[in-house]
């Protein structure tokens, strides 16, 4: 085969640095990191992007993404991203967070960044467990799920119920777009990519807060092979965390989250002040 005939059909996205990640074999973080990087490439925003990494398994994402990166304290990525976006409103700012980070210790920051309608993109990896610390119960661990800190299975009578993040955030006025996806098959990876790209495009179009929840696996801490983990996820997680779009103000016919919020508060005079 001559050189002129060769054609690149697959390569590392430019926004993903040529380094070895710290993710376990079979971990879905690698797939999602790649989807984010592909998106940065395709939207040509790596140079203006600032990413915020969490505390959790993707804590070292600042070494993997080629854009400028900030490592946040546990749970505080939405607050950090808020400030970066306020300082540089024309940059593309995203937070990449896991379930413990986003839905437990950082729930206040998550809810308030969302309700403020911060024009940022959040990628949320929900694998129902604390991976980095070795497999403890997460806010999204399922009822009866066995973890290191729920050795008899999550007892909802004492440990309470899992948090459904997309459903929770869908009631907030600042939110433009929420979609729950997974990456267990090529088809679902493509759908996840589409959602992630949409969440970034929304930010560029100034639509408001966008979050994509990726229902993911943790073969290491679940004690399964990657394929078994996907099987367990499909069987147990997807019924609890159904895939789909939970909010899309554009599909609802609004230009952005603020317009949708105004329509929702149409009967409230003070909320309509200054809108003419």
């Amino acid at each position: 085969m001559s050189e002129s005939e060769s054609k690149v059909v697959f390569q590392r996205p430019h926004a993903l640095l040529p380094v070895v990640t710290n993710y376990c074999p079979g971990c879905t973080h690698g797939i999602v990191n790649r989807l984010v990087a592909e998106t940065l490439d395709e939207l040509d925003v790596e140079g203006s992007a600032v990413g915020v990494a969490p505390v959790g398994c993707s804590v070292m994402a600042y070494d993997f993404f080629g854009c400028d990166m900030i490592e946040a304290a546990h749970g505080r990525a939405p607050a950090v991203a808020t400030a970066v976006k306020r300082v540089h409103p024309d940059n593309v700012v995203f937070a990449y967070q896991g379930d413990g980070d986003l839905a437990s210790i950082g729930m206040a920051e998550t809810v308030h960044a969302a309700t403020r309608g911060e024009n940022i993109t959040v990628i949320f990896i929900n694998n129902a467990i604390y991976g980095m610390t070795g497999g403890q119960m997460a806010p999204t661990s399922l009822p009866n799920q066995v973890t290191q800190t729920s050795p008899y299975g999550r007892d909802v009578a004492t440990a309470g119920f899992p948090v459904r993040v997309c459903e929770l955030l869908s009631s907030l006025d600042g939110v433009a777009y929420l979609e729950r996806v997974t990456v267990d098959s090529p088809k679902n990876v493509r759908k996840a990519k589409k959602a992630i790209k949409r969440a970034f495009q929304n930010q560029i179009d100034k639509k408001g807060y966008s979050l994509v929840e990726v229902v993911a696996t943790c073969p290491t801490n679940w004690g399964m092979t990657p394929q078994e983990a996907f099987e367990w996820m499909r069987e147990n997680m997807l019924p609890y965390y159904p895939l789909g779009v939970y909010k899309d103000v554009e599909a609802d016919g609004f230009a952005n989250a603020a317009e949708a919020a105004a329509a929702r508060a149409a009967a409230c005079p003070i909320a309509q002040k200054g809108r003419e």
């Binding site: 640095l17 400028d68 990166m69 946040a72 304290a73 400030a83 593309v92 206040a108």
Partner: protein, 362 residues
């Protein structure tokens, strides 16, 4: 320059804006609220951002983010809120991010009270958060000094890439005094921060703001380097005011609001013929060892006056190293000591000194 009458809290805010600060993140708490209110009113007028965060924790992490993005940024709170900010301040120190944090102290522990206090001295100078680090701590004692220090604090923070704390209290924050405000700076004219996360634009490798180092050797090396920077700060940034201290037998040491009380007491003592003086630390970290050392030749005894149960007194004893007695007088919980109370302490010390002299003469 024309002077205006301003509350300390407002002077801090106005001066910060004049220093080019355009980002303020805070959460309401007495007795610092005027500062946040001033920012909310005036930041929009200069194209700046005032954002009321959902918590002190969020506010300090917004400061972390804005600082990482290259902005001059500030937050303010009072004692209980500063405890919550401890996390973010530690991360800022660990990531070498500048920023200015105001603590308008009130009495503690716990919810404590809302009256003025200086009981966060330990927190500010020893352990604002976890880990091996320091923040530069200023203790202004007049509204003018609050304005001057808020203006300079941003330069110091940027120069050394460190958080800077201004330790005020409810009295200084609430009181009004005449103040001449510094010249406004245009944020566009401030020095560039090549390390900031602004988007690399394809023109440089990516910048990373981070405090995580999983290799012990790497973390140790960074900490050691940071402490070398702290040595430079100690050498260059110590500040104190000496008042009638050159020939003083009894040297009072007090900062902030209690230094004002101590000054009145010193004046009253001098009027009685007692040779009292005052060393007023303006930086609490670095502690002004040099100014204190300069008094040791004449001083017979030291009296530390604080609005707490005795915190700075430990640093004074570390400086004096047992060479002279170091006494303490403090009120806490929001009680402000009166000059008369402090004068009583000075008289008591003078009485002891006289007795000792008489014995020597016998």
């Amino acid at each position: 320059m024309e002077k205006v009458l301003m509350k300390g809290n407002e002077a801090l805010a106005e001066s910060a804006m004049r220093a080019g600060c355009r980002f303020f993140f805070g959460y309401p708490i007495t007795p610092q609220t005027e500062l946040a209110a001033y920012m909310s009113k005036n930041m929009p007028k200069v194209g700046g951002t005032y954002l009321q965060a959902e918590s002190e924790v969020a506010a300090i992490n917004m400061v972390y983010g804005a600082s990482a993005a290259g902005a001059r940024v500030m937050t303010s709170s009072s004692s209980p809120g500063i405890s919550l900010k401890g996390e973010g301040i530690s991360y800022m120190a660990g990531a070498d991010l500048p920023g200015v944090i105001i603590n308008v102290q009130r009495g503690g522990p716990g919810l404590g009270g809302i009256q003025p206090s200086q009981s966060d001295y330990f927190q500010a100078t020893k352990a604002t958060g976890h880990g091996d680090f320091q923040v530069v701590v200023y203790a202004p004692s007049t509204v003018q000094e609050m304005a001057d220090i808020a203006y300079e604090a941003f330069d110091v923070a940027d120069k050394y890439r460190t958080p800077v704390m201004i330790l005020a209290d409810g009295m200084l924050g609430q009181m009004m005094e005449p103040v001449a405000l510094p010249q406004p700076k245009d944020p566009a004219d401030l020095p560039e921060k090549p390390w900031a996360c602004t988007g690399h634009g394809g023109k440089r490798p990516h910048n990373v703001a981070n405090s995580l180092y999983l290799t012990a050797d790497a973390l140790e090396k960074l900490n050691v380097e940071r402490f070398q920077r702290y040595e430079a700060i100690k050498a260059a940034e110590q500040r104190a005011e000496s008042y009638l201290a050159d020939d003083a037998d009894i040297v009072l040491v007090a900062f902030g609001a209690s230094a004002r009380v101590a000054r009145s007491a010193v004046n009253a003592a001098r009027a009685e013929g007692i040779k009292a003086g005052l060393v007023r630390p303006i930086t609490l970290w670095p502690f002004p060892e040099k100014a204190l050392e300069a008094t040791i030749a004449s001083a017979k005894e030291y009296l530390v006056v604080e609005m707490n149960m005795g915190q700075m007194v430990e640093d004074v004893r570390l400086c004096i190293e047992g060479r002279r007695p170091v006494e303490f007088y403090g009120r806490c919980g929001g009680v402000i000591p009166t000059p008369a109370e402090v004068l009583e302490q000075i008289r008591a010390i003078q009485g002891r000194l006289n007795d000792a002299q008489e014995k020597e003469g016998e």
